[in-house]
Structures are given as structure tokens and as C-alpha cells.
Symmetry: C2
């Protein structure tokens, strides 16, 4: 059970590999897909010399031909071409009958319908998670006498108390201490509340990790690194299946409620992609094509990132705001404030870089030491530490979203929060009206600052060991919380500096004016930290608009996130998701990473100089037995086909899986095909074959007649560009028209690892 979160299907416990077949997955339904387009294209040019009794794979594709093995990379060009063939066929048919025309129209609209269904399903699940998490979180504090299924807010809904503060303490809601000891103050009730909090936290986290372990190992983590890899064309069966969806939904609620330092936005993206993938099964257009499916997933991925935040805003309890953390600040920002904003950017960048390094080091440790063998104990210990340290401090006891919301808020006159514990304005300037002008910090605020400083330290440390545990866990909320705390601290500091030294801020911050808004600093800090961890910039600023509705703060947000990105990039180019992708060895070709070395294709291709010669098939001179021997003696996923061993002129490329399925099928069903039969990749029967020879096996149908080639002199930067832009799986290397070798995506990733002095063997999958 070393790192079952890292997609190792050969799991020692056997549990996950049993479930592996249970979890209905991404690729299970593609077995009936049609043959490759090259094959289809050839069929029109094939001459009529083929005896009709031979099974022609072109007209009647064998099941399995054209599909992929688990943990392999798809060929985008091929898949897209396949979809265009399908589309062409539908369009052609639609000219002949009304029924076919209707089918063609429904096919065209199926993408819209699918996205609608995905939106509805994801929205419903996200809403359910939200309500359930609220209820369980409140359960840690107490219970509603009207019915245990009410959360705190809901329980007090019908209460007669008028102000929000009083309503918060309505008689129907009882804390555990009130229920057990009958009192809510004093050390003993506090102890009871503390213990009940710990009890529920440990129970929730135990349930979460056990469910993940027992039913869906793929449900852990945020899922974003794996989804990025899947979207780039990798196959992970079951990762987006229905079991993952069910277990992830349940355990996400439990993990969030347990009080661990994690968010639910990242896992919701995984949930949305599961929904999209499952709903894809309803439409043949998406069921049968890996590339089209991924396009849909990609849209869901984006939609979910936005929906994860905005859906929660459709608050069923009457709050009509359209955004999650609604901000409305009294004062505009001043150009001088760019300095502290950039300072927050530097903090965010430093923390992002540090967090990634520390988290990856910790995850490596988990993979390589005995720590990884006891995921349940690990989760319980971390939950216990989190609970013990978080309970006494009100800023860590509340949920991450609540904390951020409070830190973003501007202080109004009515605000009773500790953060607004300013001294009453003394009106020294004689001005009337603007009692929201600058004020000296009071005792309440000083206490709040201390608690916030402790909360900052705590959040920074605990998030490092939390992210990567075997429970669903997102990073958005914890990262933003760290930044928001730092920002609020700096904001209050600036505010007090301005209050006591008005002469320093000559010209724009006169006494009595409300010129510095600590809530804005919290917002900027949150964006900076999120930027440092994920390395998003523009999209992040857009997300912050979505969150806060504050369109006027584009410059502060941009300044902080750009600074944060630059600072963090100085310590390492990778964001947290890329770092986890590399840690797990997925074959992911980062779209932005520049390939900056002067290698040529000949330096990267296999076979190397010391290797045995490339395993190739010839187009007409090999027998079935020879082909079988060659295939079995190697582990390659495909084989180039050449005119003859002497000329090495390239004809095409055939996939191992297609080859084995076709030979197996021919031996079973096709009369006369024996080991001595010739395998023909040509249209015609060669003259050299004796007339009394057994009937040949014709395999031109499964031959890809348009394999990608580059010359041996092609610079690797161009080759990498081609792989990236076209989504290739492999590419053949020629010299003066003769086949020299082959480059696969894995070869490229290994070469890139080598060039940046990393272990090339860290790339695990094909």
C-alpha cells in the first residue's frame, strides 16, 4: 500500500485491484469504436483481387481494434480524424433520408445537451456536498433540538431573536456542553466541547480515509494533476468512473467536515469531470472517441472551476448576493499602496515556492518510507493534531471559507467582530459624519492580531502535511486563507501606521479619512498566495473577480499576482499540480515549458547506438509465425512496416494491440491461416509466393499508412513542438528516406528529465 493515491494498479493489498475492475471507467466503453481513418481511406483504393471469403478488417472492424491499453497515451490526430470520418458519414447519409437528417441534427446538438446535463448534475452534487458539509461541520459543535438534521443556521431560522448575533445563540441549538453539563461557560463545559469536537473530527476523517481505501483509491487528493494528464491524452481506467464519483462525493463531505486544512474546490473539479465522463456514455459521438471525450471533459473542467465558486452563491437561505465573498469597500486605493501590494506578492511567491518544495519533499517521504504503509493512521494523527491546535483559536476553528469571508470584510460601524475592535473615534479633526474614518486599534483588535498570527503559522505548517493524504483534499481555500491572514495583518499594520503618522502619508491620507482598507489587503494577499502555489495569473485575477465582484481592483490584484509568479518562478518553474504530476511520473508534456537544448532527433530516438536494431516488420516477406515471435520478444506498443529489410523504406506503422487481436482472430475464424501463412500489408499478392502456399493473412486494414516522420536532423525543439501541438504518441525518424528509429512521448519526457538533471527513470508510464 505504498502510494495508492498515485494510480498504481498493482496494489499490494489487492483491494484496489479488485475494485479496479468494478469502477466503471473512462475507457471501458470504447471497445466498439470503428477502425482508423487511414484504414477507411484505403478501402476506397483497394482493388478487387481479394477473395471475398477473407474477413476484411476494414469493412467489419474487429472488437478492440483501434482502442488503447490502460496507462497508455492516445493518438490525438488519429482520434480526431476518426471523428471527422464519423461526421462525414452522418452528413452524407443525412442527404438521403429524413430519419438520417434528424439523427444528424441530434448529433450536432448532443454537445450542447451533454454540457447542460453535466451542468445540472454537477450543480446538484455540489449543492448536496455544500449542505451536507455545513451540517456535519456544525455537528462538531452541537445539535439542534428541533431535529438533529438541522444545521446551526437552519435550526435558528425560526427563532424570534432579531439581531444576527442573538439569533446565533438561539435556544433550540445546544452545544454539546449544554446538553451534557447543562452549562456553556467554565472550564468543564469547554473541555466537553473540545472533546466532542475531537471525537467527531476523528470519526469523520476515519470514515473518509477508510471509504477511500476500501472502495475507490482514485478518490483521494484533489485529482487535478491526474485530470490534467488525462486531458493531455493519457488513459487511466476508472479514474473518472462512477465508483470514484460516489466515494469522492461522500468522503469529500467527511474530509471537509473533519476540520482538516483542506478545501473542496479542487475535488469538485474531479467530481465534475466524473459526471461529464459518465454522461458521455449516453452519446455515441463522445462514447466512441477519446479525443471528443477529452474536449468535453476539458470544458467541464473549466466550467467546474468557476461553478465550484458561483454555485454556492445560489444560497437557498435567502442571501441574494451573486458572489461568494462579496466585498464593497468604502475607499478607493491609492498608488502608494502598490508598495505593500507588491510586498504581499513577494510573500505569496515565497510561500508558494516554499509550500511546493516542502509538500513534495513530504510526499516523497511518504512514498519511500514506512509512512506510506499506514494511510489511516496518518490521517487520524494529522486530524488529531489539527483539531487539538485549531479548537482553542477561533480563527482556526471556523472553516476556511468563513475565515476568508471574515478577513475580506470591511469594518462597518455595526460590526461586532473582534477584527473591528477599534477604539471609538474621538473626532479630533472636528469633522462630522465620517465616523468610519481612521481609528486607533483597540484591545479587541490586538487580541485578533495575535490570534491571526498564530493561525497563519498553524495553517502554513499543517497544510504542507495535509495535502497529499489519502482523503479528497483541495488547495484553493487553504492557500487563500494563508494569504488573506497575511494580507489582513499587513493591512491593519498600514492602517495604524497611517493613523499615527499622518504626516508620512502627506497629500492623500488626511486625519479622519478612511484611506486604508485592510479587507482589500486580505483579498490581494489571498490572490498572491493562490498565484504562488498554482502559478496562474490572468485566470486567477478573473477568478478573484468572480469571487468578490470587485472590478475596480484589477491593478492591485494584477500587481500582486504577477510579482508572486515572478518570485515563485525564481525558485522553480513548476506549480503544485505540475510538481505532483512529475512526482507520480505521469507522461505529461507541459504546454508552456520551452525546450531549450540543441539536441537533434537522432540523439533522442531509439535504438541508441549500443542497442539492438529496431524491430520492424516487412510488408510482404514475413510469415505469421515470424511476426508472432517478433511481437512476443519485445514489449513495444507498435512496429514500423518497411518495404524490405534491405531498403528500410517506410510503408506504415501498426499497433501491437491491433496486430495481436487481428492475428488471433484470423487463426480462429479464417480458414487456412496457419503459422506459415504470409502476412501481407500490401494490396497485391507478391509474385514470389508459391501458388501452393497457405492463404496469406491480409492486414493492410490495420496498417496506419500515414505515420508521422521527422528526419534525423530535425532539432528536438521542433520535434517537441510537433508532439505537443498535434498530440502525437510516437514519431518515426528517417534519414534520406530510410527508417532509422522511433521517438515516443516517453522518450521525449525522459530526454527532458535528463537535460534538467533529473532521473529519466522517473517517467513511469507510456
Amino acid at each position: 500500500m505504498n502510494f495508492f493515491c498515485a494510480l498504481n494498479p498493482a496494489d499490494e493489498s489487492g483491494v484496489s485491484s479488485t475494485l479496479y475492475s468494478l469502477t466503471g471507467g473512462l475507457e471501458e466503453c470504447s471497445s466498439s469504436s470503428s477502425s482508423t481513418s487511414a484504414a477507411a481511406a484505403t478501402s476506397s483504393t483497394m482493388n478487387g483481387t481479394i477473395p471475398t471469403k477473407l474477413v476484411d478488417p476494414v469493412d467489419d472492424p474487429l472488437p478492440g481494434v483501434g482502442t488503447y491499453e490502460d496507462f497508455n497515451t492516445i493518438d490525438w490526430v488519429r482520434e480526431k480524424s476518426k471523428d471527422r470520418d464519423r461526421h462525414r458519414e452522418i452528413t452524407n447519409k443525412s442527404r438521403h433520408s429524413t430519419m438520417a437528417l434528424l439523427l444528424s441534427i441530434s448529433d450536432a446538438f448532443s454537445g450542447w445537451l451533454l454540457m447542460l446535463l453535466v451542468g445540472l448534475k454537477t450543480g446538484a452534487i455540489a449543492g448536496g456536498i455544500d449542505i451536507a458539509a455545513h451540517w456535519l461541520t456544525d455537528m462538531k459543535e452541537g445539535v439542534c433540538l428541533n431535529g438533529f438534521w438541522f444545521n446551526h443556521e437552519h435550526c435558528c431560522w425560526t427563532s424570534n431573536e432579531t439581531t444576527f448575533q442573538e439569533r446565533d445563540r438561539c435556544p433550540q441549538w445546544k452545544s454539546w456542553a449544554e446538553l451534557v453539563a447543562g452549562s456553556s461557560s467554565g472550564p468543564f463545559p469547554y473541555f466537553i466541547n473540545y472533546m466532542m469536537y475531537m471525537f467527531w473530527a476523528l470519526l469523520f476523517s476515519f470514515l473518509a480515509v477508510s471509504l477511500v481505501r476500501a472502495f475507490a483509491p482514485y478518490a483521494c487528493g484533489s485529482g487535478i494533476p491526474e485530470i490534467k494528464t488525462i486531458l493531455s491524452g493519457f488513459i487511466i481506467r476508472g479514474y473518472l468512473g462512477k465508483w470514484t464519483l460516489i466515494i469522492k462525493t461522500i468522503t469529500l463531505v467527511l474530509a471537509v467536515s473533519s476540520g482538516l486544512s483542506l478545501g473542496k474546490e479542487g475535488p469538485l473539479v474531479h467530481v465534475a469531470c466524473c459526471c461529464a465522463n459518465i454522461l458521455c456514455h449516453l452519446f455515441p459521438k463522445y462514447r466512441k472517441n477519446e479525443a471528443k471525450r477529452r474536449e468535453t471533459l476539458w470544458r467541464s473542467f473549466f466550467a467546474a472551476l468557476v461553478a465550484a465558486f458561483t454555485l454556492r452563491s445560489i444560497n437557498p437561505f435567502g442571501n441574494s448576493r451573486l458572489v461568494l465573498f462579496y466585498v464593497e469597500f468604502h475607499a478607493p486605493w491609492h498608488l502608494v499602496e502598490l508598495a505593500p501590494f507588491i510586498l504581499l506578492g513577494i510573500f505569496g511567491g515565497l510561500w508558494g515556492a516554499l509550500f511546493i518544495k516542502a509538500n513534495i519533499a513530504w510526499c516523497k517521504r511518504r512514498k519511500s518510507t514506512r509512512l506510506g504503509h499506514y494511510p489511516v493512521i496518518e490521517v487520524l494523527v494529522v486530524t488529531a493534531i489539527t483539531g487539538l491546535l485549531a479548537f482553542p483559536n477561533s480563527y482556526t476553528r471556523m472553516s476556511g471559507a468563513e475565515l476568508i469571508s471574515e478577513l475580506f470584510n470591511d469594518c462597518s460601524l455595526l460590526d461586532s467582530s473582534q477584527l473591528c475592535g477599534y477604539k471609538s473615534p474621538t473626532n479630533t479633526s472636528g469633522s462630522v459624519g465620517n465616523s468610519l474614518g481612521d481609528r486607533a486599534a483597540g484591545q479587541g483588535l490586538y487580541t485578533a492580531l495575535w490570534q491571526l498570527a498564530l493561525a497563519l503559522l498553524f495553517k502554513m505548517l499543517i497544510t504542507v502535511i495535509t495535502f497529499g493524504m489519502k482523503v479528497p483534499s483541495g488547495l484553493f481555500i487553504p492557500s487563500m486563507a494563508v494569504g488573506a491572514i497575511a494580507g489582513r495583518l499587513l493591512g491593519v499594520g498600514m492602517e495604524q501606521l497611517a493613523y499615527y503618522n499622518h504626516d508620512w502619508f502627506n497629500g492623500w491620507c488626511s486625519p479622519g479619512a478612511d484611506c486604508i482598507t485592510p479587507g482589500l489587503y486580505a483579498m490581494v494577499g489571498a490572490a498572491a498566495c493562490l498565484g504562488g502555489v498554482t502559478r496562474m495569473t490572468v485566470s486567477l485575477v478573473v477568478i478573484m473577480f468572480e469571487l468578490t465582484g470587485g472590478l475596480e481592483y484589477i491593478v492591485p490584484l494584477m500587481a500582486a499576482t504577477m510579482t508572486s509568479k515572478w518570485v515563485a518562478d525564481a525558485f522553480g518553474k513548476e506549480g503544485i499540480y505540475e510538481a505532483h504530476i512529475r512526482l507520480n511520473g505521469y507522461p505529461f508534456l507541459e504546454p508552456k515549458e520551452e525546450f531549450d537544448h540543441s539536441s537533434l532527433a537522432v540523439d533522442v530516438m531509439r535504438p541508441r547506438r549500443s542497442d539492438p536494431a529496431l524491430a520492424v516488420l516487412t510488408q510482404e516477406s514475413m510469415t505469421v509465425e515470424e511476426v508472432e515471435t517478433l511481437v512476443e520478444s519485445t514489449h513495444y506498443s507498435g512496429f514500423p512496416v518497411v518495404v524490405s529489410q534491405e531498403s528500410q523504406r517506410l510503408v506504415g506503422f501498426v499497433l501491437r494491440r491491433d496486430l495481436l487481436i487481428s492475428i488471433d482472430n484470423a487463426r480462429k475464424r479464417q480458414e487456412g491461416v496457419v503459422g506459415a501463412s504470409h502476412v501481407l500489408f500490401t494490396d497485391h499478392t507478391p509474385a514470389a509466393v508459391a501458388p501452393e502456399a497457405p492463404p496469406p493473412l491480409r492486414l493492410r486494414g490495420i496498417l496506419d499508412l500515414s505515420p508521422f516522420t521527422v528526419t534525423d536532423h530535425t532539432p528536438m525543439d521542433i520535434t517537441v513542438d510537433i508532439f505537443r501541438k498535434l498530440g502525437l504518441r510516437q514519431c518515426l525518424v528517417t534519414h534520406n528516406g530510410r527508417l532509422l528509429g522511433i521517438i515516443t512521448k516517453k522518450d521525449i519526457l525522459k530526454h527532458m528529465a535528463q537535460m534538467s538533471n533529473r532521473d529519466p527513470e522517473s517517467i513511469l508510464f507510456n
Copy 2:
């Protein structure tokens, strides 16, 4: 002088071809660029057998090698690879000295610096255009007594009148009638104003068209079709040069002021791209690389589209709104209203499709008949018609932006606009306070509706013949104006329908409530029409947010623009810019257009079956004379190099321009190279050459050793995809390792034209 706006440098008047050399252009500075990367890559593997006295094109690239001819397509892969080589070299050098390190850092930041400079320069020019256009527009109506250089608003700035309406008629500002006749009412003053309006309009448009004609023919039109083509990799010398910039800036002001139905947003994009291109000259990173330059232009293109609207909002006269057409509606929209919104979408789509068809038909007429020979007369006649018809109607007399702004506005109680000429509320419902509730239309509103209907008809017709004339002209504002008028008309209609039939709208629109906002309808209509013409959807909705700041109207805007796109697409897939690109025959490969035919590469490649064989060079058996004869007997831009005529195995590709420059240079400067010298594309000297033969000409340095190849069986959809994604110029076609033919971008465009039953000869350039 047939269509000098369509980039024909062989212009009969001779004026433009003289200026053609004057206009400092996009490509003039790239002559000193380094050799291709393939050549650089080869240099390391060349052995030492080459006599040192030979000029090696690798170490010392000849001027001109690696550059492009005018009206040709660049090779993106090559250009990007070149930039990576340059970057690698700088990085390597930076390890050795501090100076080089500083250079490397400044190189890395030059992109940011460049964008900053482009932003500043474009902003300054846009601001200048705005101020000048305001002034000249007001000049048509009257003059300021304080000084003729004040516009109307500026002139009345210091006036003592308090309300805006009165201030609008301050004593310092005199209409022409007041100046000449001493009175402002009555038929004679009206006639004087009318005539002065016509006089200025004709003067401005005459100046505009004459300046364009005399100094910068490329300054006409919106420029967006050409810029799209340039960004995709086409070379048009001078299109983004300083003369185009200067003349376009001046004539844009004149054209806008003349009252023609055109906007300035599109031409501002051209201006921004000119600024970016000219500023590129300051940085060698961008000066020497066509691909990097286009990346920068692309960013400016986007930035300008947004800046064109938002820059104007930095109003120097104290209006603090951040958006151009600020909207703040009183009432939210209701689900039932989606029906009229979708109706507006249908109108927008129909109008968009109709406009494109009519405008293209008119432009074709201009190109093919004598109409195109008299651009100045055409502009004067259209200006005269526009002026005569526009002056009497206040909605056509005001500028497009003013009209849109008025139509978007909601009626408040104080509004004195005719559009708000409702009857006073009678308070039948007895409710107090909401006097903005629904009201019956009064006389003022009925007059306004009539005028708007006439304005709609007028705008729809005049825009068709205006867009494409030989003056700078944009489409955004006229399109939006048409949609806004239609929307406002429908909005008022809905409002009155609700007022008189409250029972029809049971449940959501009770009597006295303000439930329908005509301004919102105008906004939705504007988006729908802009969508129908340009076929943008999501980006358009984003632009509408930018324009109006109305985040709550995402659903109405989305519904209308999607409907508009669907309806318009049913009549033809092309937007107005793509239609103009095709009209002018530019080699532009539409990134979204699906290639839906089952052709193979062999069907598209040259030579065709009936053609003479492909002109190829051999790697070592041809003499300088033979090469020269071959090159001169053809007009191809490049030649494949093969091992021998018999084997036809491909070695590389050499560009005609590089070949001619190198041979020419060798004959002049290299001792002993004569007509009988062998041209060698190999590293070694072949054994067959006699020792007493003249010294060979070695040209491996200019040989591209990694030409792109596809097999003859490659489906064309895949080939098109490769061209599009990699930005190829040409691709060689092989069969079983032997060279068969070549496919260029032009061949693909011709094939696509043929497939959709268009004239393949309409593709004019390479």
C-alpha cells in the same frame, strides 16, 4: 486603380508603388537575420575537409538568406526554432560574463518593456484621435467664440449655466446660422446650418480619401482582415509601416468627423498594430524574427480591441465612470423576457448574414466595374447622400457612439430626452414613491419611435455601401447602432404591451411596477447585431461587459448572441472579416473551419498526373549551370533535394531565394566557382568528381535538413490540421520513402475552394 485597398502593389497609377518603397514596413529590417536553425545544427557535425578559403554560409550568413519575399508566407516552425537558437546562445553566453548576463536579463524583459511602450503610444494616439474627432465633428455645427480650437463641450465648460441642458446652449458657442444670419430658428438658419454641415462633411471626406490615395493606400478600410492574414504568417511590406500609421491616424479623424456611417474601433486596431510593429524595431529579439514579431502584434491586437473602448473612458473632463456606455437599470429581467431577447438574436443574425452578403456583393461590384476607378468621387457621393439624409433626423445626425449611449440609457425622472417622453404617471394604483413605474407613451416618445425607425432603415442601407470605401472605416459602432435601435424599438413595444395588458403578464408585471427596461433591450440588440456581423460570441459578451459594466445581464446577452450566431451561420459560416479575406484572395487558413472531405494528400499535391515531373535538385550530381537553368525555368519558391534522380529519396529542401543569393554570391566572391562547378549539398566530396574539375560550390549550409513530410495516403483533414497547428509553408509528400510531390498552403486553400464549389483561382498570393 482597381482595388488599391486590396493590397495590389502593381497599381496602375504608380502612386502607390512609388510610396510602396517609402512606407517603412514590416519586413524591411529582417535582412540581417541569422541562418536557419537546421543549418546551425549541422555546423557542429561538419567535418574538417572543407578548404578554409571557401565561404561557409553557416558561420557567416549572407545578407538576405533566411528572409522572405513580399506577399509570401513565413515558416513558423523555422522562425520559432531560430528564436530558440538565439535564446540558447544568449543563455550560454550569460554564464561567462556579467555583461552578457545583463544583456540576457534585458532580453528577457524586452517583451514587457515593448508592450508597455506599445500601450503608451497607442493610448496617446487613440486619445489624440478622440479629441480631434470631437472637435471636427462639432465644427460641422458651429464654432466657439472663445477660440475655434474648442469643441462644443469644452467651449461651454466655463459657462455659468447650471443644468446640463442649458449648459449645452451656452452663449459662447455659436451655430453657423447664428454667426451668419444672427438667428437660430426658422427655415433660413436651418438651411444655413444644413449647408455648412454638408460643406464640412464633404471637405473632411475629400481630404481623407485624397490623403489615403496619395500617401498610404494601405490605410483604408478597417485593416482587420489584412492583420488577421499577417498574423497568420503572411508578408505584406509596408502594411504596418510608419506612413500607414501617420496617414491612417489623420484620415481616421477626418472620416469619423465627416459623419459617414463608420466607427473608429477597427482602424484603431490597425493603428495599434502599426505602433507595435514600429516599436519592434527597437528590440533585436523582435526585429529579426517574424514569428516573435507576430506574437507581439497578436497581443497588441487583443489589447487594442479592449483599449479602443476603455481608453476613451479615461475621460479628461471629469466623468469618473470606468466604462463607455455605463448602464444602471432599475429592474432585473424576467425569464419571460428571454423570448424577445431571442427575437433580437434572430434579427441580429439575419441582419448580419444579409449585411455580409450585400456588402461583399457591393465590394465585388467595386472591384469588377468602373466604380472602382473613381474612389474619390465614390466617397464624395456617399458622404453627400449620408449628410443629406442624416441631418434632418436627430438620431442620425448625432455620432454613432452618442446614439448608442442614448439608446442604452434608462429613463429617469429628470430625463429630458425625447425617448423618455412618457405621459406623467397618474398613480392609478395608489402606490406612492415609485413614479418610475410603467407609463403610457406620450407624443414625444411616438415622434422618437418614428425617427428611430427611419434611422434604422437609413443605417442599415448606408453601412452596406460605406464599409469598404477608400477611407479608414470600422464596423463595430454602426453594427451596434443598428442593433441598439432595433432593440430599443422592441423594448418600448414590450413596455407598452405590458402597460396596456397587465393581465397578459400575470404574476410578474403588476400595474405600476417598472418591469421592462427598454435600455436593456437596446444593449441586447447591439450585442446580437455585432455578433451576427463578426460571429464572435463569448468574446463579444466580454466586450459588452467592458462597455457597460453590467455583470447581471450575462444570460440575456448570451442567449441573444448565441441565437444570432446560429441564425447567421445558417446562411453562411463566414464573418465579415473572413468574407473580406476571401474576397481579396489572401492565403488565410481559417483556424476553426473543419475540413470535411475525404481527400488524401495525393489528391492535392503537385505535380498532378498530367503535370510535368516535380523539379528537384540532386545532392551532388548537378552543376551550377544546371541548377540555374532549373531555377530559372520555374517559378517555385523552393526545391526538394534528393539523393539521386533514380532513387528519389529525400535529403532536404532549399528555398529559391537562398539558392539564388548563395550562387550569386559565390560567383562574385568565391574563387574558381564557374558554371561547370558541382553544387554539393553533402558534407563530403563525391568520388565520381574528377580531380581536375573546378572547385565545387558547397551549399549544405542553406539546405533545410528537416523538411516536413507526409505520406501520400495521409488524409487531407490531418494534413490541414498539421499546416494549421504548426504554421507550415509547404510539406513534401512521400510514398514508401520516395519523394512524390509537394503541397503548399496555397494548394490547400485552392483545394478547399474547389471543394466548396468556389473558384480555386481566387487565391491570389503564396
